[in-house]
């Protein structure tokens, strides 16, 4: 069945709240697990039986930041195939390169408005059943998303 579990790692409570609200608006069935940092996110992965369909990682997190977490995920047999999307407040070329090199699926900049956030998330979640990779070309249309293929 469709995997409607999303794992989010972000240390900003406001952002997390908004994220979940947006998700809820899009689809009530989507379960969003929220972790404060990469370390907690990994623990959550282990604790929960179900593998999330997608993982969102914020870059700047205490304890374990997005890069480290991404590395860990990609090294783990169980999770390396889960699509990972990096999120950040800024888009630096370096960061995008790093994200690509570490195996993230795409990278997006946190939109300034709630509306835009919802739009992005909708795009992503609606393609969860199709297999995100195949849907990515469509996602590129969105100005916030930077997709790596």
């Amino acid at each position: 069945m469709m995997n409607k579990i999303i794992l989010l790692a972000d240390d900003d409570w406001d952002d997390t709240e908004m994220f979940c609200e947006a998700l809820a608006d899009i689809d009530e069935n989507i379960i969003c697990h929220c972790a404060e940092n990469g370390d907690v996110a990994l623990k959550m992965l282990k604790d929960h039986d179900k593998i999330p369909g997608i993982i969102f990682l914020d870059l700047n997190m205490p304890v374990m930041n997005g890069w480290e977490c991404l590395k860990e995920i990609k090294q783990d047999e169980r999770y390396k195939d889960i699509p990972v999307i990096m999120i950040s407040t800024s888009s630096h070329k370096n960061d995008m390169e790093t994200a690509a090199s570490l195996g993230a699926l795409c990278y997006f900049v946190k939109p300034n408005t709630f509306k835009d956030l919802k739009q992005v998330l909708e795009l992503i979640t609606s393609n969860l059943e199709n297999g995100l990779k195949e849907a990515l070309p469509h996602l590129e249309k969105n100005k916030y998303l930077h997709v790596f293929l």
Binding site: D14, M18, S90, T113, F114
Partner: protein, 890 residues
């Protein structure tokens, strides 16, 4: 009578007569004397003769004209007159043919009948016989006299072995007369049985085989005693070809036989002598100079065997051809002049290869009967002596040369150094008068005497070589330095027989040495004055001198030299490098310079020294030694070191602070932006939430909050960008400014569209620079131009470029001109200051960083930027950038 009556018959008889018959009739003269005849009749015989048929009645003298020269006619006349029958012979004919006739003339009545008989042959035979007889007689006489005068024996045997003839010599030998001996046999004539027997057998052989026999025999001569005879028997043949007699001759060959024997004997003796003599001897005979005799010593000497006897000597020793010695051989043979010479060089092939041999040679011609028939050669080999002597001469001359080259004087002394004799050299020991001089007295200067005596005694005792440099007083009382070397000569029992000495004048060397020593001393004194360490090394790099500074500093022993004397004083870290560098310099012949630490002996500390060395070369440019200094640079070094450390530290700090700053900027921008973002986000949520419920002032207030937040964002971005460009080093690449402007055009497409602006540019240069930074620079300028456009006037931006040469480098000058609002003249410099805005914040958004960034970028490229403006007309920015970046990091 019948015959006469028958005329025909008579005619036939008449004409067939073998003789000539003529019937003549006398013709009378006036005196009635007969002087001619008329021919009545001639028989055929005569008519054939005269070849004239028509003779009848002709005069006789006419027909036989040739009788004129004869007295035939006279005879006829006589008979005609006297009537007496005459017989006479007469020759008749012409020059070529003469016949002798016998005429018979008969008178018959009045007619003369002449009969002529051709007796030519008979006459001739008679004549011959008559001639022969005396000839035969003559010959006989001659024969007899020869036979009897010859000393040889001549005799004839008949078949009964009897002597039929014996000449005088034979008779004399027998001591008999002819009567006693002729008709007798050999034995009867005194021959011994065996002798007679032999001869008789021989006679038989001659008779039987019809050939001669030769032999030799001895016989007692009656007068001369026993003689040796050589005889020959020859057969005498009769008409039938049978042997009827045996004739013989015998010659007394006693003398010649004796002579032969003597010769044989002497030859034998000669031969024996040749073979017994120890000297290699050779006898050559004949014009070909054939080897007739050769003794074994000579054979050995030429390395051949007996087979060469009979060969021409030149065939045996072809290598002699053309040599001096062969000339002499020929001379001896041809002229008979004896040849003697010692130590003649004769290269010849004795052992299979041509070698040089020396001989004492004696050649003598052999004269037989006054003629040179050959020659005898005696050769004694003296090769070894000659070679030895030559070697000795060579070594002597070498010795002499050596002596002359090396010493001024060579002399001999007796075992006690008492007597001196000059051997060679230019003899300072002049004259033989000086003999018997004590070496010491003669030679040694008083001051050196003691030393000399000491050394001499030592030499005498040790039987060792005496060597000494010493002074000698010249005749003019001047001093000179001499080096004397005397060698003891020992006999078989190791006792000293005599001494050989050689001396050389070394005055000039000594003087030179002194000069050098003095100059060295001065050098040393000088060297010890200076505060630096001075040292010298030989061409191999072996340090052989230090001034006193060195010893003071290192505390080393004064007699230490070479590697061990300095390497150990270096700081452990420096030692390897220093010795390596030093020896590399030595081998390359290049000046040496290095800094290293040396241990101060007193304080134990290591101080820094600067060591320099230069090679000293001779006239040919060959390095003879090295001259070096060591200067204490410790203070400077420490300072420099400290400085370097300081700088390094500072740089590190700077770098660190730079990094920190970078990091800070990055984080700061992120963290600063975060709350701003939140503001905006929540503001938007609020707006969504309160959709339509805000009154106008509220909406306005919210808008203002958005604007402020946006400003915040831009500011933060600007600061971040500014700080980044400051920090990061960009690599210089080739940047095509045309491309850069094209990219900016694309990136500012929307803005340009909105403002209806246009950028004009052409032929911008391609130069070395940081692409990102240059992009930023021009982006800022163009962006400004668009931003600061005049109201309702679409911004026109013109970018042009030129170039100039400044200090050997090419500089590009790019002009960016717009038609915007421009600025005041006195703001020209201010606009490039950070955070400086010429306009109020609200009217034209901007961080105030743009132009200062441009300036920074231009300066980082080693260029510059200046601006001119006219208010409400436009602004012009002039950027200079070098084409080439010397340092590839900007």
């Amino acid at each position: 009578m019948e015959l006469i009556n028958n005329l025909e018959l008579f005619q036939t008889v008449f004409n067939s007569a073998p003789n000539g018959i003529a019937v003549l009739k006398s013709l009378y003269t006036s005196e009635n004397k007969v002087d001619d005849f008329s021919i009545l009749l001639l028989n055929t015989y005569i008519t054939n003769w005269i070849d004239d048929e028509d003779y009848k009645g002709k005069r006789f003298s006419k027909v036989f004209s040739k009788t004129k020269e004869t007295n035939i006619l006279e005879q006829f006349i006589e008979t005609a007159e006297t009537g007496i029958t005459t017989n006479f012979e007469e020759w008749y004919g012409d020059e070529t043919v003469k016949h002798c006739f016998r005429f018979t003339v008969v008178k018959q009545d009045e007619v003369l009948v002449v009969t002529m008989e051709d007796i030519t042959e008979k006459k001739e035979a008679e004549t011959a016989l008559n001639n022969a007889l005396p000839d035969a007689e003559k010959q006989k006489r001659l024969y007899n006299s020869i036979i009897n005068s010859t000393p040889d024996l001549v005799y004839v045997f008949d078949l009964d072995y009897k002597f039929t003839y014996a000449n005088k010599a034979l008779l004399t030998m027998w001591g008999k007369t002819a009567d006693d001996s002729i008709g007798r046999r050999l034995i009867e004539n005194g021959y011994e049985d065996w002798h007679a027997e032999m001869h008789e057998r021989e006679i038989d052989t001659v008779v039987a085989e019809k050939r001669s026999i030769r032999g030799t025999v001895s016989f007692p001569h009656a007068e001369l005693g026993r003689r040796i005879y050589d005889y020959i028997f020859v057969p005498v043949f009769n008409e039938k070809g049978e042997v009827e007699l045996v004739a013989g001759t015998t010659r007394d060959i006693t003398e010649s036989k004796q002579a032969e024997e003597k010769l044989q004997q002497s030859e034998n003796r000669f031969r024996k002598m040749i073979h017994q003599t120890p000297a290699p001897t050779l006898v050559l005979k004949g014009d070909d100079l054939v080897i007739e005799q050769i003794n074994k010593h000579m054979l050995q000497m030429i390395g051949r065997g007996q087979e060469i006897i009979g060969m021409r000597v030149i065939d045996v020793l072809p290598e002699l051809e053309g040599q001096y010695v062969w000339e002499q051989v020929l001379k001896v043979y041809n002229e008979g002049i004896p040849f003697d010479q010692s130590e003649v060089l004769v290269p010849h092939n004795r052992t299979g290869e041509l070698k040089n041999y020396y001989y004492n040679l004696a050649y003598r011609p052999l004269i037989e009967d006054g003629q040179i028939t050959g020659m005898i050669q005696v050769a004694v080999e003296v090769t070894q002596q000659v070679v030895a002597r030559q070697k000795m001469e060579e070594s002597e001359s070498r010795f002499r040369a050596l002596v002359n080259a090396s010493s001024d004087l060579v002399y001999r002394m007796d075992a006690d150094w008492m007597i001196m004799q000059d051997l060679e050299g230019d003899g300072h020991l002049d004259n033989q008068k000086e003999r018997g001089v004590n070496w010491l007295d003669k030679f040694i200067h008083a001051s050196d005497l003691q030393m000399a005596v000491h050394l001499i005694s030592k030499s005498i005792v040790d039987k060792s070589i005496f060597e000494m440099e010493h002074r000698v007083i010249n005749d003019d009382d001047s001093l000179r330095w001499v080096f004397s070397r005397v060698v003891p000569i020992l006999d078989d029992h190791n006792n000293i027989i005599e001494w050989f000495g050689a001396s050389s004048d070394i005055t000039s060397q000594k003087e030179l040495q002194n000069v050098i020593a003095e100059s060295e001393e001065r050098f040393r004194q000088l060297a010890d004055l200076v505060p630096q360490i001075i040292w010298t090394a030989n061409s191999e790099g072996f340090v052989d001198y230090y001034n006193s500074r060195w010893y003071e500093y290192t505390g080393f022993d004064e007699h230490e030299f070479g590697d061990s004397s300095w390497i150990s004083k270096l700081h452990a870290d420096d030692a390897y490098l220093v010795s390596k560098t030093w020896y590399e310099s030595v081998h390359a012949g290049l000046p040496y310079q290095l800094e290293f630490r040396l241990r101060n002996a007193k304080t134990g500390e290591y101080r820094w020294f600067l060591s320099k060395a230069l090679p000293i070369k001779d006239k040919e440019g060959v390095i003879t030694n090295w001259f070096g200094t060591c200067t204490d640079i410790h203070e400077q070094k420490s300072i420099t070191e400290k400085l370097e450390i300081l700088v390094a530290d500072r740089t590190k700090e700077l770098q660190r602070s730079n990094d920190d700053l970078q990091q800070f900027a990055h984080v700061a921008s992120h963290d600063l932006k975060e709350p701003v973002r939140k503001i905006k986000t929540f503001l938007s949520r609020l707006e969504d939430h309160m959709e339509g419920q805000f009154d106008e002032p509220s909406s306005r207030y919210i808008d203002r909050i958005h604007v402020a937040a946006d400003r915040m964002f831009n500011m933060i971005d600007g600061v971040l960008a500014y700080s980044k460009t400051n920090a990061d080093l960009q690599k210089a690449t080739i940047v095509d400014l045309n491309e850069v402007i094209k990219n900016i055009e694309t990136d500012l497409e929307i803005a340009l569209q909105q403002a209806n602006g246009k950028i004009y540019f052409e032929k911008l240069p391609i130069l070395e620079g940081a692409a990102v930074l240059l992009y930023q620079l021009f982006y800022n300028l163009i962006n400004n131009s668009i931003k600061f456009a005049q109201e309702n006037i679409p911004p026109q931006i013109k970018i042009t470029a030129t170039e100039k040469i400044e200090n050997d480098s090419k500089i590009a000058i790019i002009t960016v001109e717009d038609n915007g609002i421009g600025f005041d003249f006195d703001q020209t410099t201010r606009i490039f200051e950070t955070f400086t805005r010429l306009n109020s914040k609200d009217r034209y958004e901007g961080t105030g960083l743009g132009l200062s960034l441009c300036k920074k970028i231009a300066e980082r490229h080693g260029g510059s930027i200046t601006a001119t403006g006219t208010v409400n007309k436009g602004a012009t920015f002039v950027i200079t950038l070098p084409f080439e970046q010397k340092i590839k990091d900007i």
